[in-house]
Amino acid sequence: MIAMERTLLELEPGMQGTIARFIGSPGFVRKLRTIGIREGKTLTVVTRHPLGGPVVIEVDGREVTLGRGMAVRVVVDVAA
């Protein structure tokens, strides 16, 4: 399987990806990890609100809302 790197923000609703890495400070990374967004986890984009609104993802059966500024700093592997 060939995987392509994408930022979370580039994923369309319904798409899945495996979390590869985060771009940001240790504090930012900890914030994501402690809420359950961790490297190696599979995430599904539930919805992306229009007009600069937030992204909602599902990880381990839990939904998490995050702003676009954060979503663009989450790098995921997507099956090409």
Partner: protein, 571 residues
């Protein structure tokens, strides 16, 4: 006396466990030096009574906001820690568990939401987890009370973990994965109806429709419960009270003391709204006019909170509130402010930074009329036609957005983005909801009502020495030249500092045109918060923040009032 501290992530049913452990005698107060509410209660252990502290929910002991700082500080007070863990989400919860156990404090783990985990096909090897963590682990269901007795019984076994040693952050993440893998089994499960409802309520279109329905239902419920409480409880109570005050009025006879305690008799009778005495209006307004709606509001809010709907509402509202310098949670102060600005001001705490809290508090004071005021606006302007009522609310909505866009640009500080977990929908626990409502109502009575009393006393004194008339005369030029209003409206604006609904009523005898009334009512909302809100804002924002907010309010009021005058009346 021993201190037991409940630690856990947000949304794990920690407050449910807390109320199961402590019963009803609970005190909620600010943690010293902060604005974070912490609940304290008592528990009977085999070796005597112990204090129980419910720490704010936190994901880790490296705090990222004031509530988490408080949680970390409270851990220092603990003789025993009960770490409440969400059994449906073990992996994420374990990080805090490990951090806590590494501190070497005696601990026990409550595997809460045990029934929900079962429904979701999640199995956890309790004995295995206990062996790996080195502390007692007890499955619990806060909602039904299952496992609470065993949890209390095993608190005596709580001791520092023998297996968990301090480690680095990366090691801790690895340990979380290892422990989860060893004790947890997950059966494959299909999308349930609840999942589909959950997803529908956070998608833009379906979610928006659901949000409108929920908000409408919430407002109707508040109105219905509030009116019911007034009609069937508070009014009858005051009917019993009236003969007593009338007798007191006769005994006192005319004079300054009568003026202050009973107020002015209207047609020989006590008018609870207009008499303005401490024992008449001073008791009636807070208890028979505000409190019923406050009780209703907090009940509905607690239910909304406990079902897990609010994070969804915040997600939907984020697109809008983000542009005003806040994020999705900015809707909470607005929502509460419509009931009463006091809890609205307190609710600005849901936002993380000073800038966000300042914007939220200022905008709410500017443009969100409280329930009592809304009722008066409808009563006064409604007879002239609904379009005048619409004018007022459209102006206020415009002010909210315009002021928000400007404040976002000029106020220095950070605006963190929305970042929240959406908990699954849950049936509210009636016990926990009742306790929460009761604690909030008690907080309101304790915090807001004394200031209201003080305010009425002050206005009465100023009125009786003729100061209010003097002030009205001084402000007459602004009223007449800038706003196109009669000088008497200045007195109403001054009284508005005390009670805005009362002030709206005072505009009626001035015989103004509907256009003038629109201007006066809009001004009344914008220019300044009522005294109770003012005091809370002062505490929340500090002296400098409050001064800045007041500047914004007065400036906006004058600009909007002047603009309305030009548009509605002409030069």
């Amino acid at each position: 006396m021993k201190t037991v501290v409940l630690m856990g992530n947000p949304n794990v049913g920690k407050s449910g466990i807390f109320s199961r452990l402590t019963g009803t005698r609970v005190i909620t107060s600010n943690y010293a030096g902060t604005t974070v509410d912490v609940s304290r209660g008592k528990l009977h252990l085999p070796d005597g009574p112990a204090g129980v502290i419910d720490a704010p929910g936190t994901y880790s002991l490296t705090p990222t906001n004031p509530a988490e700082e408080v949680a970390a500080a409270i851990l220092g007070e603990a003789d025993v820690v009960v770490n409440v863990v969400d059994a449906t989400n073990l992996e994420r919860n374990l990080y805090l568990t490990l951090e806590t156990l590494e501190r070497g404090v005696p601990a026990a783990v409550a595997l809460n939401l045990w029934d929900e985990a079962g429904h979701q096909g999640i199995g956890i090897d309790v004995a295995g987890l206990e062996a790996l963590l080195g502390v007692p682990v007890v499955p619990t269901v806060g909602l039904s009370g299952e496992g609470i007795r065993e949890l209390v019984g095993r608190l005596g076994e709580a001791r520092p973990s023998a297996t968990i040693r301090p480690m680095s952050e990366e090691e801790r993440w690895a340990a979380v994965g290892r422990i989860t893998g060893a004790v947890q089994t997950i059966a494959h499960r299909h999308h349930t109806l609840a999942d589909r409802v959950s997803e529908a309520s956070i998608r833009p279109v379906t979610g928006g429709l659901i949000a409108i329905a929920v908000i409408a239902a919430a407002f109707l419920a508040v109105r219905w419960i509030g009116e019911g409480l007034i009609a069937f409880f508070f009014e009858p109570l005051f009917d019993l009270y009236t003969p007593i005050v009338m007798r007191a009025s006769d005994l006192l006879g005319p004079g300054i003391l009568h003026e202050i305690l009973i107020g002015r008799l209207i047609g020989g009778e006590i008018d609870y709204v207009e008499s303005m005495g401490l024992l008449t209006t001073g008791l009636y307004v807070p208890f028979a006019m505000i409190l019923p709606y406050i009780v209703a509001f907090y009940l509905v809010l607690s239910i909304l909170e406990d079902t897990g709907y609010l994070p969804r509402l915040a997600t939907l509202a984020d697109t809008f509130f983000h542009r005003l310098g806040m994020h999705g949670y900015g809707i909470i102060p607005v929502f509460l402010g419509f009931g009463c600005n006091v809890p609205g001001a307190l609710a600005t705490r849901v936002l993380e930074t000073k800038k966000q809290r300042f914007i939220a508090a200022t905008l709410m004071s500017l443009a969100i009329p409280c329930m009592a005021q809304i009722a008066m606006v409808f009563g006064v302007l409604g007879p002239f036609g609904l379009r005048y009522v619409v004018m007022v609310f459209a102006t206020l909505a415009l002010v909210y957005v315009a002021a928000g866009l400007i404040l976002n640009r000029v106020v220095p500080g950070e605006c963190p983005e929305i970042f929240l977990e959406i908990p699954p929908y849950r049936m509210p626990d009636l016990r926990a909801t009742a306790t929460k409502t009761w604690m909030r109502v008690r907080g309101f009575v304790g915090e807001a009502i004394p200031y209201l009393f003080l305010g009425i006393l002050l206005v009465n004194l100023l009125y009786s020495v003729g100061f209010l008339d003097l002030l009205a005369a001084a402000f007459a030029p602004v009223m007449e030249a800038w706003l196109g209003l009669p000088a008497g409206a200045a007195v109403a604006l001054l009284v508005g500092f005390l009670r805005k609904d009362l002030a709206v009523g005072m505009l009626v005898p001035l015989g103004m045109s509907p256009e003038q009334l629109v201007i006066a009512v809009t001004m009344l909302t914008i220019y300044f918060p009522c005294v109770a809100t003012f005091v809370v804002l002062f505490r929340e924002l500090g002296a400098r923040g409050m001064l800045a907010a007041a500047g914004v309010m007065v400036t906006t009021a004058l600009l909007v009032g002047g603009a309305l005058r030009v548009i509605l009346i002409g030069f």
